[in-house]
Each structure stands twice: as structure tokens, then as C-alpha cells.
């Protein structure tokens, strides 16, 4: 306890060098928190967007459904398992029925996936409320990418052709009721959304679905009624890969910044040991073991990082908070190249990430403080008392 108190007094008394060290270290801490926050924010948003627009928290797939194999679609529909009635009633799950169809914009034929969804659903952000039919039109909603591919605008009509459950051709004009903008390409490209009841009527597939999108609260967590359960981990595979590679980059930038800050600490330590040889001798003469002195100096050095954390919190917290409000504006481009990123990136400060950063900074501060201080224990204390440490 004495050692710690002495250490504190010493570094507070050290003045300018202390202030600079603390400045650098707190700078590193705040920057890294901001950087990691941005990374966490980006990943969190990308995961959230995937959940909000496309995947939900988890899904239940018709046994024949395979997201990546459109040829499975004609067989991949069936009565919704009664076991999930409660979840459906409670609004924790919503069925989606997918069929293959063709649209004919400007005389071209384009094969698409026609997805039926309950207009009242609140699980996906697809603007399904626009799917309530009005004035004899059959409304559909499409994403921005699909709108670009088909050259369709809000209010436009386009010929849609599909086949009912028996393979009978049907076709009618549908009207684009809304165009939504999402960062999640898999809810947009090559797809049209239509009211589930319209699709039921069009295909004679009443009460059927291809997959069920579920909220986190949904009690279903395993294969149900022969349908396959797909958990969040499975649905987030792409985001996970993205996350891993971003992390690697973050580690490298952190290393660089930390190296720089530790350089300052190391420098200060070396000098302070050099300048305070007599003091060291005095400590030993007063009965402190050389190891105790080493500990004292190590704690002094480490204290920089603690002060840095403290001051970093004081000047950084408002800044970091402000950052969560303004976010980092992003160019539209990212969404277009298939990444789930919005107009602005808002940082998310995760306790684990901040704590890890802090612990790493403290640990390495302690290490670079210890390294020059280590020598003390090996010194001849008589010489040290004379101020002649080498």
C-alpha cells in the first residue's frame, strides 16, 4: 500500500513528462475505443440489417427448401406446421412463401423470386403495409436494386407471370406500390414482395409457406414438424467472415498506436531511473528491498496507463458519446457492393472490447515499466546510493 501511495505521489510530482505520457496513452485509448467502436458498430449494424431485412433472428425452412438452389422452389412449400401457431399468433414469427415467376419489363423477360409476406407483419422491415391492395390493383414492393434492374418506378405497372400449384400459367399486371432501400442485397436483388393472401389466391397454396422468419423471442429452437431450424449463427455466416477480417486489421492498427505510446512510457521510465539513482539508494538504505524498488518503479509506470484511462474517460467520453450521435457518414457505395452498411456508421462501444483494450494497455505499460526497472534489483546498492547506477 505504501508502495502504491509513493508511486502515485512520485508520478504526480514528475510534472511534464507525466502529462505527456498520460496524453499519449489516453489518446491511444480513446482512438482505439472509437476505432473498435466503429468496427463493432459496423458489424452490429450489418448483423442487425440482416436480421431486420432478410433473415430475422432464426428461420424454419420447409424440408425441401434450399436458399441457394432456386430449382428447389417448386417443391419447397407446404402447410405451416401447427406447432408454431402460438408463435405466429404472438407475432413472433411470420411465414414467407416463395415461388418462381417472371416479369416482363420493357419486353424483356426476367426470372425472379416472388415472395409472399403478411402485410401486417412487423418482423422484417420490408414495407409490407404497402401491400394492402387498393382499387383493384395488385401491389408489389421491390428494393432499389431490383428497381434499377427492371427500370421500374413507384406506381409503374409490370406484367408478372407465374404458375399455380398445378403448373397452370397465370399472368397479370402488378403495380409497384413502394420501393425500399436496404443494405441487404439478399432481400432485394431478383425479388418482388407481394401480399401473402394475394399469393395464396394466385397459386392456390392457402396456408402454405416456404420458410418462417422468427424473432429472437420465438420459442422455436429446433426442427419442428419436419421443418428445419436455422439458427442465427447460420444466417449470419457472411457477416462473421467480414467481422474476422476487420478484427485482424484493428489489431494491427492498435499495435502500431500502442507501440508509439509505450515508447514514451519506456523513455520516461529509463530517464526517471537514471535521474533518481540516489533516491533508489535511499529507498534501499531505508530498508526497501531492491525488488520492492523495482515494484515501485513498475507501479509508477503502470500508473500512467491508469491515469490515462481516467483522463481519457474525462475528455474522451463526451467525444465518443457525440460520435454515437453523429455517426460516421458512409458513401452509398457499400450497400451496392453487397455489404450491409447504411448511410452512416454509428459506433457501438462494447464493454468487452473497451475492457480488453484497457487491459492490454495496462499490461504493456506495466511491462515496459518493468523492463528498465528490472535492472535496479541487480545493482550494487552502495553504488546506487552514490548515484552510480549503470
Amino acid at each position: 500500500m505504501l508502495i502504491i501511495r509513493t508511486a502515485f505521489k512520485n508520478i504526480i510530482g514528475a510534472g511534464r513528462a507525466t502529462r505527456l505520457n498520460i496524453a499519449v496513452l489516453s489518446f491511444v485509448l480513446v482512438i482505439m475505443t472509437a476505432y473498435n467502436g466503429m468496427l463493432d458498430g459496423w458489424i452490429a449494424e450489418s448483423r442487425r440489417d440482416t436480421i431486420d431485412w432478410d433473415a430475422g433472428w432464426s428461420q424454419l425452412w420447409h424440408p425441401n427448401y434450399d436458399k441457394y438452389d432456386i430449382f428447389t422452389l417448386p417443391d419447397a412449400h407446404g402447410k405451416i406446421p401447427i406447432q408454431i401457431d402460438n408463435a405466429l399468433q404472438a407475432g413472433m414469427a411470420t411465414p414467407v412463401l416463395v415461388i418462381q415467376a417472371s416479369v416482363y419489363p420493357q419486353g424483356r423477360m426476367l426470372n425472379i423470386q416472388l415472395k409472399g409476406i403478411d402485410p401486417e407483419q412487423q418482423i422484417l422491415k420490408i414495407p409490407s403495409l404497402s401491400l394492402h391492395s387498393a382499387g383493384g390493383e395488385t401491389p408489389v414492393v421491390i428494393g432499389k436494386r431490383m428497381a434499377a434492374t427492371t427500370n421500374l418506378k413507384k406506381g409503374d405497372r409490370v406484367m408478372l407471370r407465374w404458375r399455380d400449384r398445378n403448373g397452370v400459367f397465370d399472368a397479370r399486371e402488378v403495380q409497384v406500390a413502394a420501393i425500399f432501400e436496404t443494405t441487404v442485397g439478399s432481400a432485394d436483388a431478383g425479388q418482388m414482395w407481394i401480399a401473402l393472401d394475394d399469393l395464396y389466391a394466385m397459386t392456390d397454396m392457402q396456408g402454405e409457406a416456404t420458410y418462417i422468419v422468427m424473432q429472437r423471442e420465438s420459442p422455436v429452437s429446433a426442427d419442428t414438424g419436419g421443418w428445419h431450424f436455422k439458427d442465427n449463427d447460420f444466417l449470419q455466416t457472411d457477416n462473421r467472415i467480414l467481422e474476422q477480417s476487420s478484427r485482424a486489421e484493428s489489431v494491427i492498427i492498435f499495435t502500431i498506436l500502442l507501440t508509439l505510446a509505450l515508447l514514451a512510457v519506456y523513455d520516461t521510465q529509463t530517464l526517471s531511473i537514471f535521474r533518481r539513482q540516489k533516491e533508489i539508494g535511499t529507498y534501499v538504505a531505508l530498508g526497501m528491498t531492491p525488488r520492492g524498488v523495482t515494484t515501485l518503479f513498475t507501479i509508477e509506470g503502470t500508473t500512467y496507463s491508469l491515469f490515462a484511462a481516467f483522463f481519457g474517460a474525462i475528455w474522451g467520453a463526451p467525444l465518443l458519446y457525440w460520435f454515437t450521435k453523429t455517426g460516421l457518414p458512409m458513401p452509398e457505395a457499400y450497400g451496392d457492393i453487397g455489404m450491409a452498411v447504411g448511410d452512416a456508421m454509428y459506433p457501438v462501444y462494447k464493454l468487452t472490447t473497451v475492457a480488453t483494450t484497457l487491459l492490454v494497455v495496462i499490461f504493456f505499460s506495466a511491462l515496459v515499466s518493468y523492463l528498465p526497472a528490472r535492472k535496479i534489483a541487480q545493482q550494487n546498492m552502495v553504488l546506487a546510493l552514490k548515484g552510480k547506477i549503470n
Binding site: R16, T268, L271
Partner: protein, 423 residues
């Protein structure tokens, strides 16, 4: 005087080594970060160029209008002639054909009948021409999880999830079934050379890679190509160069009324790359600025410390009759020399690390769950002229400022006090 100072720095290691080391490491780190962030950006450009856009891309106008569909029926016919013209007009650019296509991959049982089949999307790339850069561009070696890359005609690479779900192994025979650019049925058998991981769930589920010659046979696209990618010399992208080639090529075709006339786009025109890159550039410059501020504080600190360390020396020198101003000036000169030496060594080291990284790359895939994949898990660095001086700015200036501040004590304290510190 100057040589005296240099001697002092070299001979009195204890006095100079630490400050030099601090400047060196600091400068190295700044140079390295600059190179690294440039490298990350290059990585992004490279991945986009290698897989989607090339630095330049030639398609027919009709194909370009509907590019997202990859409409091979609108592909460039007589691509050989177009390629020749491109080689003639822009000999420094590496022109190479690519074809994107789709179909079914059919896995036979022991009787040669369909055991399983699934839809696939294919990319055909020039893998077998002598000196082709394409295998390296796609990073095939790295992406292979089993087997080997395509080394001869009739071989195919199959994506990992497809291989797993249909039990496909290297050495197996599989049949592609699709349609030619004219819509005719098309079949071909291939030997599975290897299994690849793309690092994207869609492609991992149903992606295949063929040599371009095989694909042309398969798709009835002899002397045709969906897209011709152009890569600038050394596979290094330059916006102005790409833009000028694009403009000159398109001007030549301006009067051609044919809907199937070739048209050129460049990387920046595609996939919103211009906005993305501009944005990333300003972000990384901001990062660099922050780092330079941090370095300046550190070096300022080092300068202060270096001065404090030598208070007693100053005392002796003053006692021996040196004038304060002279002492202060020599101190500044010394720190300037230290700053220069440190900046030079640091810049050199930083550049060396970047060079090493740009040659070999830092592969972080070992810390990732999926070991091999096509999304480049390698961090590269870029070397730019800026890097030769960027570290020196804080390296020399901050050191000087720090020393100047610390040195002021010479004026503040009286000679006796400084001398006393000599003990």
C-alpha cells in the same frame, strides 16, 4: 562544431541511442501505418478489380446495359480481334477474357447416371495460357482446400459447400449442363481438380471455376467473351491512366452505331468504386494525421527527457565557459541531427517492412476459422513517395520542439544550480 556534435552522438551512445531509437521507432511506425492503410485500400481495389471489374473492362454495349444479368447472348463476338486491337493500341495493359455463366452441375453414380445435381454459377478465367496472371489474381492457390488448381484442360474447381453437400472430391468426374450463349443445350465432363473456398456463402454454395478455353467450348463462345478485363502494368491501378485509355477507346467507337460494338468502362465507373475509394482515402488520411499527432507528443516528450537527462552536463559546460546561447544552439543542432538520423533510419525500416509486406503480405487467415478462401486474408502494404517524408515531419520537428522547450531551462536556471546537479 557540427562534426563535434556528430562525434558526440556517435561516441556517447548512452546519451544518443535512446532518443535516436525513439525517433526511429516512431517514424517507422508512421511510415508503416501509411503503407499499411494504403495497402488495405489497394487490397479493396485489387479484390474488386480481380473479381468484378478489372482496371478496365470491355463489353458490348448491349451487355453493358444489362451487365448485372451477365447476358452471354449479348457477349462480344470476335473477341480475338478486339483483344488484338487492344494489345496493339494499349500494349502495356494486360488484357484477358472473362466469362460468367450459370448452369447445373451433375454428379454421376457408378453407372454414370445422375446421383445428384445442383445449380452453379461459373467464372471462366484464362488459367492455362503461358504467363497468365489470372491464377494469381484470383488467389487460387490460397483458396484451395483440397486437391490442386487447374493445370490442364478439362479440369474444374468446385466450391466447398457444394462439394460437401454432394460428396464431391478431387479426382471425381462431374458433368456441367447448361446452355450456350445461343441458348442451345450444352454439356461437358470435367475432372474436379480441387475444392475452393470463396469466402462468400452464395459462391461457396454453388461456385465453379473453369479455364476460359474450356468455357468457350462449353458455351459455344469460340472467339467470344462476355467481358475483357484489362489490368494496368504491374497490376497497379492508376485512375488517370485508366480514364485516358477508356476515353481514347470509346472515342474510337463513338461513331459505331452497332448495339454490339465494344464499350470500355474503368474500375472507378463500376460498383460505386469512385465514392468508396475517395471516402476510404480521406478516412485513412485522418488516421494518419491522428498518428502523427500522437508521434509528435511522444517525440516532444523524448526531446524534453533528452534535455533533462543532461542538465548536469550543461552545468559542466557552462562552468567551462560556454555561453548559454551557444550551448542552447548546440543542443538544438544535436537534436536536429538525432531527428534526421532517426527519421532516416525509421523511414528506411518502415519502407523495408512495407516492402516486405508488399512482396509477401501478412497472412492473418491462420487466426480465422476458415483457413483458405478467396477473399484475400492477407494484409499488404503500399509504397508511395509520400512515405519518404511523412515520418520525417514529426520525426525532426517534434524532436526539435521538445528539445527547444527542455533547453529553455539553460536560461532559466543559473549556472551554479546546473553545475550542482553534477554532484
Amino acid at each position: 562544431m557540427f562534426s563535434f556534435i556528430c562525434k558526440g552522438i556517435i561516441r556517447d551512445r548512452k546519451r544518443s541511442l535512446l532518443p535516436v531509437a525513439v525517433v526511429t521507432i516512431g517514424v517507422m511506425v508512421v511510415v508503416f501505418l501509411d503503407g499499411l492503410m494504403g495497402g488495405m485500400m489497394d487490397n479493396m481495389v485489387r479484390m474488386t478489380a480481380n473479381f468484378q471489374t478489372g482496371h478496365l473492362k470491355v463489353m458490348t454495349r448491349a451487355y453493358a446495359a444489362d451487365e448485372a444479368q451477365k447476358p452471354n447472348d449479348l457477349a462480344l463476338l470476335g473477341s480475338g480481334e478486339v483483344m488484338e486491337q487492344l494489345h496493339r493500341d494499349y500494349p502495356a495493359v494486360d488484357w484477358t477474357p472473362r466469362i460468367f455463366f450459370g448452369g447445373l452441375l451433375d454428379i454421376p453414380d457408378e453407372h454414370g447416371e445422375t446421383k445428384a445435381q445442383g445449380p452453379v454459377t461459373g467464372q471462366a478465367v484464362d488459367l492455362l495460357s503461358k504467363g497468365s496472371q489470372e491464377p494469381a489474381r484470383l488467389g487460387l492457390e490460397k483458396a484451395i482446400t483440397a486437391g490442386h488448381i487447374i493445370t490442364q484442360p478439362g479440369e474444374i474447381l468446385v466450391s466447398i459447400d457444394f462439394a460437401e453437400s454432394f460428396g464431391v472430391k478431387p479426382g471425381d468426374r462431374v458433368t456441367f449442363f447448361g446452355s450456350t450463349m445461343n441458348g442451345a443445350m450444352s454439356f461437358a465432363n470435367y475432372h474436379v481438380a480441387g475444392i475452393v473456398r470463396f469466402g462468400n456463402s452464395m459462391l461457396d454454395r454453388g461456385g465453379i471455376i473453369l479455364d476460359i478455353a474450356d468455357a468457350r467450348l462449353l458455351l459455344d463462345m469460340e472467339d467470344a467473351a462476355g467481358e475483357i478485363f484489362g489490368f494496368l502494368p504491374g497490376d497497379k491501378y492508376h485512375n488517370e491512366q485508366a480514364e485516358s485509355i477508356k476515353t481514347s477507346f470509346n472515342n474510337q467507337q463513338a461513331d459505331n452505331p452497332d448495339a454490339y460494338a465494344p464499350v470500355m468502362t474503368q474500375l472507378m465507373d463500376q460498383d460505386m468504386m469512385r465514392q468508396t475509394l475517395g471516402y476510404t482515402d480521406s478516412m485513412s488520411f485522418f488516421m494518419l494525421l491522428l498518428l502523427m499527432v500522437a508521434l509528435s507528443i511522444v517525440l516532444w516528450n523524448a526531446g524534453v527527457l533528452g534535455g533533462i537527462r543532461r542538465y548536469n552536463e550543461f552545468g559542466v559546460r557552462l562552468a567551462m565557459g560556454e555561453v548559454k546561447r551557444q550551448l542552447y544552439r548546440s543542443l538544438l543542432t544535436e537534436s536536429l541531427v538525432i531527428g534526421i538520423i532517426g527519421s532516416a533510419v525509421g523511414t528506411t525500416l518502415g519502407l523495408l517492412i512495407c516492402l516486405l509486406l508488399s512482396r509477401h503480405g501478412l497472412d492473418y487467415s491462420t487466426v480465422m476459422k476458415n483457413i483458405a478462401m478467396m477473399i484475400d486474408p492477407v494484409i499488404h502494404a503500399r509504397i508511395t513517395p509520400r512515405m519518404y517524408y511523412i515520418g520525417a515531419i514529426p520525426g525532426i520537428l517534434s524532436m526539435l520542439v521538445g528539445t527547444a522547450l527542455a533547453g529553455r531551462t539553460i536560461y532559466k536556471r543559473n549556472t551554479a544550480l546546473l553545475f550542482k546537479e553534477l554532484d
